[in-house]
Amino acid sequence: MSTHPILAALRRHKAGVVLIALQIALTLAIVCNAIFIIGQRIDRVNRPTGIDEANLFVVSQQWVGTQESDGPGAIEKIDSLVRADIDTLRRMPGVESVAPANSMPLLNSSHTNGITLTPEQKTPTLTATIFEGDDKLINTLGVQLTAGRAFTAADVQPQGFHNDNVTPSVIVSQAAAEKLFPGQSAIGKMIYSDGKGTTIIGVVKLLESSMVNTFGENSDYYTIIEPVRVDGDTSRYVVKTRQGQQAAAMAAARDALFAVNPQRVIDADRGVRSFAEIRHDAYRSDRGMAILMAVVCLIMLCVTAAGIVGLTSFWVGQRHRQIGVRRALGARKIDILHYFQIENLMIAGGGVVVGVVLAVGLNLWLMSQYEMPRMPVMYVLIGMVALLALGQAAVFVPARRASRVSPIEATRAV
């Protein structure tokens, strides 16, 4: 079919054509960027933590009447309380493994240190999240040791919360090891924090840091585990249960701890939390943003499709007589159908071209304002195809109605 008559007809209602094209262009620009944002957020939520997340829960509690700053002997006193707690939790039915920990992946409570390769180095090679726990922590978390050895009970030191002395040995994540010693084995190497040295004795495959949502940047998996039992005003225990026993153990943990020592506060809401809940909270804003963007996209696509249906229906109504004439002169139904489909394709095509420019522009602007990464071309291509398809789908109903106009219309006065 020649496009000439279509173009000639389009020229007769320029404003309508421009409006549909503009609407498609804007929709493409916004939907591409919104879907890009959704994609980023989904990627983030799906990042692995490196730990065995099933059957894991965390108890956070605060001592009453015992403070780290109470003076000499305070740390020793707290340490005995902590060890009693660990012992109590380990003896609970259904519990497989327990370890004290200052924090854990996704918990949003972090302790970070700048790590250097020499004691004199001024700018740290990397900033690592420091996890402190005893020799059972790696097993409890289910982290995979890929090189070197795990901590033994002899490595573990009790330390106050404000004590930031490095331990003689640490275990680092693979990502940190590669950044610190590219292409070499990190085992046996010294690293420094604030001029104080420690030896890397083991490397774990993957371990997510505890803050994952700082200014929308992804963490880089730089994590270090120190063999320290933290004895501060608060304490935290990671508990691994046997399959199917988690709920029961979570319910019983509070009472068991109170039975051994009532001088404590375990918050009713946040004192005992499953890892699933911690994960849910950590990514809440990402999920929220993705849902919001998805809803806006959906509404926008529906409005645009409905707009195309509305305007095309109007045009069909307006051109009833001309369609009748064409039919009377021998045009088949399919020709009329194609006429409207091609017309829409041309309008949408124009809109899509403008839309690509707008989409890229919007992405560049977001990059400059909100530290957004560059949008891969794939998103724009998919967006183009999607909008052209949307246009075709929307135009089908009015176009089919047009194709059913009887040739007899030609003989009727308006």
Binding site: V64, Q67, V303, A306, F314
Partner: protein, 438 residues
């Protein structure tokens, strides 16, 4: 005349219910998406103390030097103990207070009830008058209580409800972290968001209420640990809370009230002089790099409004624009279909202004209907963001009269704007042409 246009408009809208419904829904969705995201934006970008925010300043001192600055040369956003206490001692502002976050356990002595963990702040006496903190009972404390490290406490109305059933508890005792404190004041409703006096620890927003305020000097004397953020450029030499106080680790917030430009200028000079003194004393070996920002500037500098919130608002406004373009197209189609009617009216003597009035009335009615749909959808939207957004932010987004009014106004104004071009086209219909072609 208006009622006549109203009647014409309603009749016209009824003639093509599908098209009308489409326009109303488009405007309704567009407006409600914008209003929903705006309700969140409004909540997080608000001024927490509008009558005074430009007189409250946050001083920043560069105690870390070049190695501790951010990429753009900014000094740390909080103070270490040494500098905070020195600034308090010099007392150069009209009112000022250093503060740090504490999270002690509290219980009513002899009540037999189990202690609970609360969040609170260690502050100086001037904290309360400086921030215009409202009291339900009692008051803050006098300067000598700071000096004497008095064992007194101001509690929140919330904690007072929980512990004392909302009765006047001034004079009663409260056990905080195992020690007895006498209650001197109970706050009224006070939950400023953003939490401008402690942006560093909260990131701006906090769903927990701040339940206890105790004298800073007392908290330090009792070794009450900092429960907020702690950042160190160099780790403390001694491993204890006392060691922390001798380190350059930052964990203390600071605020000063400066009432006019001259006072601000004087305070800037004072900070500069302070940094120079520290330099000559050998503590800093770099040029002064201080900042003195008022609350709005500090909140902006700390990026208190999440970029997600801004991007959402922008995308939602984009949706509104798409909906409006859609409405322009549909109104155009609708108006031009009535060319013959316009022709007749014009031929019978109606001026262009009458055509404008008629069609803009019609657009306005579409907008109003869209606004009503938008009201309902905004209600659904604000409720829904509460389910999906982070709790501290979602808790702030709420519907009030001004939001509802704004929804209606935006809907009507945008529909009338959308109707301008179609109306212009309609007003230019040539009567002769229309009459002839019929």
């Amino acid at each position: 005349m208006f009622s006549y246009y109203l009647e014409l408009a309603l009749r016209s809208l009824k003639r093509s219910p599908g098209l009308t419904l489409l326009m109303v829904l488009a405007i309704g969705f567009g407006v409600s998406a914008s209003m929903t995201t705006y309700s969140v934006f409004r909540a997080v970008s608000g001024d927490p103390i509008p009558w005074k925010s430009s007189q409250l300043f946050v001083p920043q001192i560069d105690m870390w030097g070049p190695t501790g600055r951010s990429a753009d040369g900014e000094p740390p956003n909080a103070l270490d103990y040494i500098d905070a206490v020195a600034l308090m001692r010099d007392h150069r502002a009209k009112l000022q207070s250093a503060s740090y976050r504490v999270a002690p356990t509290v219980q009513v002595p002899g009540s037999g009830r189990h202690p609970v963990s609360v969040s609170g702040h260690a502050v100086y006496s001037e904290f309360f008058p400086m921030l215009d903190v409202p009291f339900a009972y009692g008051s803050g404390w006098a300067v000598d209580a700071d000096t004497n490290q008095a064992a007194i406490v101001v509690i929140s109305g919330e904690l007072n409800r929980k512990m004392f059933n909302g009765q006047n508890s001034v004079g009663k005792m409260l056990e905080i972290a195992g020690k007895d404190y006498q209650i001197v004041g109970v706050l009224g409703k006070w939950d400023p968001q953003p939490r401008f006096y402690d942006v560093v620890d909260t990131g701006g927003f906090d769903t927990n209420s701040d339940d206890v305020f105790i004298p800073f000097t007392r908290a330090i004397a009792m070794g009450m640990s900092n429960a907020g953020n702690l950042s160190c450029n160099n780790n403390p030499a001694e491993a204890s809370f006392a060691g922390l106080q001798r380190s350059t680790c930052i964990w203390i917030e600071y605020m000063a009230e400066l009432d006019d430009a001259a006072a601000v200028q004087k305070y800037r000079e004072y900070l500069n002089g302070y940094a120079l003194t520290q330099k000559s004393a050998g503590r800093f070996n770099w040029a002064p790099n201080n900042r003195l920002r008022d609350i709005p500037q500090f909140l902006d500098d700390q990026h208190v409004v999440p970029s997600d919130t801004k991007v959402s608002l922008m995308v939602a406004l984009g949706l509104l624009i798409v909906c409006l373009v859609n409405t322009v197209g549909l109104l155009l189609a609708k108006f031009l279909r009535r060319s013959s009617e316009i022709g007749v009216r014009r031929a019978l003597g109606a001026p262009q202004a009458a055509i404008y009035a008629q069609f803009l009335t019609e657009a306005g009615i579409v907008g109003l209907a869209g606004g009503v749909v938008g009201l309902v959808l905004t209600g659904v939207g604000v409720f829904s963001v509460g389910l999906v957004l982070p709790k501290d932010i979602a808790a702030l987004a709420h519907i009030n009269f001004s939001l509802l009014l704004l929804t209606l106004v935006v809907a009507v104004v945008s529909a009338v704007l959308a109707g301008l071009y179609p109306t212009f086209r309609a007003s230019r219909v040539q009567p002769a042409w229309q009459l002839k072609s019929n």
